[in-house]
């Protein structure tokens, strides 16, 4: 009987974890739609600058290029974390997660700095429809990254406490999915907002 229960438990847990990862994929679909709607809004309003101030006058190439490199690197390091997890190595797993979240913090810091400079130079969220759409779209992504950072800290603590189990494995898998997804969204932001903005 005891054996049967234990066997049951193992089976159930694996099934549960698998379902949770799949559900997260569907969540990502909904998040895609959310960003899609914001991108559409931005595309409609990109030329609605009212007073004439455009992104071109404010977007600084070194700023957003370094943001891009930092975020892409963090996606790579989160991948390394997952690889270490599959090898069952807890220390490099935690290490790479910390590197990832530090890069995330750098990214958010740079973004806040970018916003501050822009506001300082007179481009606020209420300057024109274009800037409202710009701040909304970019900061929604930034907010996602910030939530991801807190989430990743919480998972890192749990890994320290419980080691690699089927539950923590699933959690790391999900956060890395989330992180890669944000990276993909950023690539679109980089192209549609910044590159097309300065060209």
């Amino acid at each position: 009987m005891a054996y049967a229960t234990a066997h049951h438990e193992e089976h159930h847990h694996e099934h549960d974890e698998e379902i949770k990862v799949m559900g997260f994929w569907i969540f990502l679909v909904t998040d895609c739609i959310l960003f899609g709607a914001l991108f559409a809004t931005y595309a409609v309003l990109v030329n609605h600058t009212a007073g004439g101030l455009t992104g071109k006058e404010f977007f600084e190439v070194p700023g957003f290029v370094s943001e891009t490199f930092i975020l892409l690197t963090s996606s790579f390091t989160s991948g390394l974390a997952v690889l270490s997890m599959h090898k069952g190595k807890i220390k490099p797993l935690i290490g790479w997660l910390i590197v990832t979240l530090l890069l995330g913090v750098c990214f958010v810091g740079l973004e806040i700095h970018e916003f501050q400079t822009m506001v300082h130079e007179g481009a606020t969220i209420s300057t024109s429809a274009f800037f409202t759409a710009f701040y909304t779209l970019v900061s929604t992504h930034g907010l996602h990254v910030s939530v991801g950072i807190i989430w990743m800290i919480s998972i890192t603590i749990q890994l320290k406490r419980y080691g690699i189990t089927s539950v923590t494995k699933r959690k790391v898998t999900i956060i890395s999915l989330y992180w890669h997804f944000l990276d993909a969204v950023w690539i679109f932001l980089y192209t549609v907002v910044y590159l097309m903005g300065v060209m």
């Binding site: 049951h8 379902i19 799949m22 709607a37 309003l45 274009f130 409202t132 919480s154 749990q158």
Partner: protein, 655 residues
């Protein structure tokens, strides 16, 4: 200091309306009454343990149902107030501002806080039972969804007595809903009430997709699933594509209001028409989100009470899937007069008409199922039969509206009002009533009285036609929606009186139903078999109400109408199968969904009044709850075999 306080409270609380003072008193008395009864009967612990912290999908479903019936009452009172105001020309029962508030809350409540939760009630109560599952895919998330809906609805309703109701229409078009024309908190109540409950709806969509795809009993292939489950899947697919758009739309409106943005205000280069596009990209699919499950309910009922297998199962599934895709390509028909140009209008006119085809297929399938069936005229069947002509007329007027050139004439007229009430009441409300009567014995273990049910049925139906048929004519006579009074010389008086009488008939129908429920609790015919209708699907194979683990032994499915097949086989073999129980894995109750939703409520309230610190406090609380959950590791347990044996024995089942 005292003056300041007085000044604050006269703005904070809604004042100057005798009806609202009455409501204030009623709310306080009800609250006091509830608190007194709970304390007197020492039921606080019971309330917390059995309901507020529950993750049982059946209990969550019942809570959804009760709150949505409450909202049906509130939305219904709104409707009657409106019809009172419009009954006579130059009538001054309500002032114009109050009238605006009432039509706004009526629309919002009926769609988002009545139809949606009633739909989720059926999702919760029926889907796991139909597919032979013990729970939904994410029980905890399911509780979160419910409490988010509940507190979102409460936040919205609070606007009635605190701060003032929204008055910019049920979809809150800017610039009317912008800061310039709606400076009060009413509009923010609207935004956050819907936003919070909308997050819950989105989570439910994900939850039920996964439940249906991953939790089915062994042997149940997709094409073996009951049609109601199929309709839920179709509806959830629309939810996950439509609701994020709503989230974005409401957030953008809030950004315009709170941060002084210019997305929808012309002055900063914004585009109000963009809001209308965005909101209808959610809003039109929303119609199919609520009507598809109703179609699923009709399919179950028609098959059961014609005592036949459903006609054209595959075409039913196919048509639902087509509707769920097409629903996304029709939104522009809400504003053919926008000036989008002929080509755009033609595209959306054709897609709108095209959606009538799969819908027609379904209607014929129901009719063919009844053809040569042994029809039993039970209450669920009555509502199903009443639905068919009603929906056919509603569909026909819909096709009339979808002809873009003609729409320039009907646009925003009472013809439109009559049309959408006909499809929403005839399709959704009748469908959900049919479902309530059908699954009531499963939920509570007793049937509702037939005689009272027939009274309710006839008053509702007669009332419906008396109320809405005149409105088609009024539309042609030039009466537009959202007007609060009209002159004698328009000639609209007589038809408006008739329409108001019809509305009150429906109100009487609702009273009959409330009576029916109270009567049923006391005298209702008990159901000891678990299968009072001689049903065909798995939910009828277990006792009613079902034990909290649903199935003592998970059934193995071999085809459609799984329970029917099992019954047929049992008749042949005449032997009872014995199966050994094994321990059942179940999730533990949790208070986090409830507490987290209270924090959402606090955050929403703070954002409504633009009290930033309250909002930050609320959102921090939400984050803390999420972290607390993340650190929770022992969130499930096993029910031992003895307990299962005991429960099954007590409901008269031998294992």
């Amino acid at each position: 200091m005292l003056d300041k306080l007085k000044d604050f409270s006269s703005h904070f609380f809604v004042t100057g309306e005798p009806m609202i003072y009455g409501a204030d008193v009623a709310i306080l008395l009800t609250l006091a009454g509830i608190i007194f009864v709970l304390t007197y009967l020492k039921k606080w612990k019971w309330l917390w343990r059995e309901w507020l912290t529950t993750v049982d999908h059946k209990k969550i479903g019942i809570m959804y149902m009760l709150s949505s019936l409450l909202m049906l009452f509130r939305g219904g009172v709104d409707a009657l107030l409106m019809r009172m105001q419009l009954a006579f020309p130059q009538w001054h029962f309500l002032d114009s501002n109050h009238y605006n508030e009432i039509f706004t809350t009526h629309g919002t409540i009926m769609i988002l806080f009545m139809a949606m939760p009633l739909m989720f009630a059926f999702f919760n109560i029926v889907v796991p039972l139909q597919i032979g599952a013990r729970d939904v895919a994410y029980p905890f998330l399911n509780a979160v969804s419910f409490w988010l809906f509940f507190f979102g609805a409460m936040l919205f309703n609070l606007s009635f007595v605190i701060g003032g109701s929204p008055d910019a229409g049920w979809l809150s078009y800017p610039p009317l809903s912008g800061m310039q024309f709606s400076p009060g908190p009413g509009q923010d109540f609207y935004i956050w009430g819907i936003q919070i409950s909308g997050i819950g709806s989105l989570a439910s969509g994900i939850n039920f997709i996964m439940t249906i795809l991953k939790m089915r009993a062994p042997g149940m292939k997709l094409m073996h699933m009951p049609l109601f489950t199929w309709s839920v899947l179709a509806s959830c697919i629309i939810i996950i594509f439509a609701f994020p758009v709503l989230t974005v739309t409401l957030a953008l409106l809030f950004i315009d209001r709170f941060f002084d943005g210019h997305l929808f205000t012309m002055t900063g280069g914004g585009n109000p028409m963009m809001y209308i596009n965005l909101i209808w990209m959610w809003g039109h699919p929303e119609v199919y989100i609520v009507v598809l499950p109703a179609f699923g309910i009709f399919s179950e009922i028609v098959a059961t009470f014609s005592q036949k297998k459903i006609f054209g199962y595959k075409s039913m599934v196919f048509s639902m899937m087509i509707i769920s895709v097409l629903s996304y390509f029709t939104w522009v028909h809400h504003f053919f007069t926008m000036g989008a140009g002929a080509n755009v209008n033609v595209f959306f006119a054709i897609t709108t008409m095209a959606i009538g085809i799969p819908t027609g297929v379904k209607v014929f399938n129901w009719l063919f199922t009844m053809f040569r069936g042994r029809i039993q005229m039970t209450q669920p069947m009555l509502w199903t039969i009443a639905f068919i002509p009603c929906f056919v007329v509603g569909g026909a007027t819909g096709v009339m509206l979808s002809a873009a050139p003609a729409d320039y004439q009907y646009h925003n007229s009472y013809f439109l009002v009559a049309h959408f009430h006909q499809v929403l009441i005839g399709g959704v409300v009748f469908g959900f009533f049919a479902g309530l009567y059908y699954w009531w014995p499963k939920m509570f273990g007793f049937k509702l009285n037939d005689r009272l049910g027939k009274w309710a049925f006839w008053t509702w139906n007669i009332g419906f036609y008396v109320c809405f048929m005149p409105q088609y004519a009024l539309g042609f006579m030039g009466m537009t929606r959202r007007i609060y009074t009209y002159d004698f010389d328009m000639g609209w008086g007589p038809l408006n009186v008739i329409s108001t009488v019809g509305a009150f008939f429906m109100g009487i129908g609702f009273i009959f139903q409330a009576w029916q429920i109270l009567h049923g609790i006391k005298y209702g015919e008990r159901d000891v078999t678990g299968d009072p209708w001689n049903g065909r699907t798995l939910e009828w194979s277990i006792p009613s109400p079902p034990p909290h683990y649903n199935f003592a032994v998970i059934p193995t499915v071999t085809g459609q109408d799984a329970w029917w097949t099992i019954k047929e086989e049992r008749k042949k073999k005449k032997a009872k199968e014995t199966a050994a129980f094994s321990p059942i894995h179940m999730p533990k109750n949790s208070g986090i969904p409830f507490i987290m939703s209270i924090f959402w409520f606090i955050a929403g309230f703070g954002l409504t009044f633009h009290w930033v610190w309250v909002a930050i406090f609320g959102l921090t609380g939400v984050g803390a709850c999420l972290l607390a959950r993340s650190f929770q590791y022992n969130s499930d347990y096993y029910i031992p075999v003895d307990e299962i044996q005991h429960t099954e024995d007590s409901v008269g089942r031998v294992g």
